[in-house]
């Protein structure tokens, strides 16, 4: 049985822009099965529909069409069982200012009907480096610490399926490492993990399988290793001091002075370098590296470039 199953799920909202009565299609017939024990990555640019998918999965939002289930429990018809199976770390840094860390975790346990949960709460605090903050009020914690508490809150009821919605946005290196070690451990012990992130190197390192979402549609879905294989195998990387001619710049991934071109073979590399020379520029620090997930991601997104739909109602 699939840990998470989306069946032809669509979601439309009343459009905030555009003519009155028009709707915005946030998800457009998404189907996806995530098996038990997978570490699955959901990638896509802002507004692609990642959070909408997670909201529907978590019961915060309802699909306009289609069905979603967690371990076979429909998220609407059998919501109690579905939510018991899910641990969701929300994207927003939210907290209840009335309570201490330990109180918040005890209360969250209680909502799920978990009694005498202090042993597991202690283990969560320990694993997430929160032990010395256990009795601190939520208001006194730094952003990173609040993020850790969010993770702990999602896990109080030992959910078999863990969902992390951009858990490392604005988080320091130390927490990222602590967090990923802990989540990887839970995954090894059998938990299914669904992750959305903008840090593609994290997704590449952690996720066994990846779906890429664009404008509410899945545009790529495969094992991470297959996605990497399918991409242009190499990337030519160098620095230039001035701007590239437009024709050339359109093919490149440019970060400040750093220019990167997808390249399949030596001939292509020579052609790019020749074009740079003809433009009167000097390529410095030239190197050739293997394509990473970011290259694949950009490639997939470019291939599927189209405007998000505004549909008249």
């Amino acid at each position: 049985m699939a840990a998470i199953s989306f069946k032809s799920v669509s979601k439309s909202y009343a459009s905030p822009k555009g003519p009155k009565g028009s709707t915005f299609l946030a998800l457009d017939g998404v189907s996806l099965d995530i098996e038990e024990g997978e570490f699955f990555g959901l990638l896509g640019p802002n507004g692609a529909g990642k959070t909408t998918m997670i909201s529907i999965l978590a019961g915060l939002s309802r699909p306009t069409a289609g069905a979603v289930s967690v371990l076979g429990h429909d998220v609407q018809a059998d919501y109690a069982q579905a939510r018991r199976s899910l641990g969701v770390v929300p994207q927003e840094l939210v907290f209840d200012p009335f309570f201490s860390v330990r109180e918040a975790l005890r209360i969250q346990s209680g909502y799920f009907g978990v009694k005498n949960n202090d042993d597991w709460i202690d283990e969560l605090l320990e694993s997430l480096g929160l032990t010395d903050k256990a009795n601190a009020n939520m208001r006194q914690l730094s952003g990173g610490m609040k993020r850790r508490v969010l993770v702990a809150q999602a896990l109080v009821h030992k959910p078999p399926v863990i969902v992390l919605d951009e858990p490392t946005a604005g988080v320091d290196v130390e927490l990222r490492q602590t967090l990923w070690q802990f989540i990887a451990k839970l995954n090894k012990q059998g938990s299914t993990v669904l992750l959305t992130t903008h840090y593609l190197e994290e997704a590449e390192a952690l996720c066994g399988r990846i779906a890429m979402l664009k404008s509410g549609r899945i545009v790529a879905l495969d094992h991470t290793s297959e996605l990497l294989k399918a991409a242009s195998s190499n990337v030519l990387r160098f620095k230039v001091d001035s701007e590239l001619p437009k024709a050339l710049a359109d093919q490149a991934r440019i970060t400040g002075r750093i220019v990167q071109f997808p390249a399949h073979d030596a001939l292509e590399i020579e052609r790019y370098l020749a074009a740079v020379r003809e433009a009167g520029l000097v390529a410095q620090d030239v190197e050739i590296r293997k394509a990473d997930l970011e290259d694949v991601f950009l490639d997939v997104m470019n291939k599927n470039s189209q405007k998000p739909q505004e549909l008249a109602a």
Partner: protein, 251 residues
Amino acid sequence: MNGWQTLLYKEVLRFWKVAFQTVAGPVLTAMLYLLIFGHALESHVKVYDQISYTAFLVPGLAMMSLLQNAFANSSSSLIMSKMMGNLVFLLLTPLSYMNWFVAYVGAAVTRGLVVGVGVFAVSALFTDLSFVAPWWILTFAVMGAALMGTLGLIAGLWAEKFDQLAAFQNFVVMPMTFLSGVFYSIHSLPPVWQKVSHLNPFFYMIDGFRFGFFGQSDVSPWLSFSVVGGVLAVVSAIAIHLLRTGYKLRT
């Protein structure tokens, strides 16, 4: 504790942690009303026979504080959770809509009763209190608090900003409580205003409650019981419907 008990506990803990503001404050306000109006009107206003104005005022003030605080508890808790976004912790749980209803209204009733008892405890220092029919007192206290807690739940679900909630409080709750006969017996009003007062459900809460203290009231306690019970049933049905359909909670 199971799910709804935990939510009830959390909601009670939420106001109890700031009891200075949520309990002591309202009790102090009620005492100021009692001292000032009691002092100013004691010799001028006669209510029923034999009952001093201050003694008449105490149950009304207690009920008014109870009602306002029951409303404030569920409404402010919900709007704050919505504004701060921490309502998501609750939305992610398997709690049913009936669990939500019982817990939010239960906590509102608790806060209302705590404030009401506080008002009596302090009033006892200034005037003699009588309790002719304690069961009526308890019945109207619980029903009134539940009604207002439910109304607060509806307002808290509906409001998206604090000022919308403040408008509800200032333009609906306050006028209806003040015009319900807290400070006067409606028999002292001109006939037209007596009729108008009879359309105000708050009047029946306070009148029935007062019957429990003096064995006298403007209308029969059974009529008050029926009206308050009927209104409670209606607002409960609305609140439960909103929770069940996820009104402004689940998009």
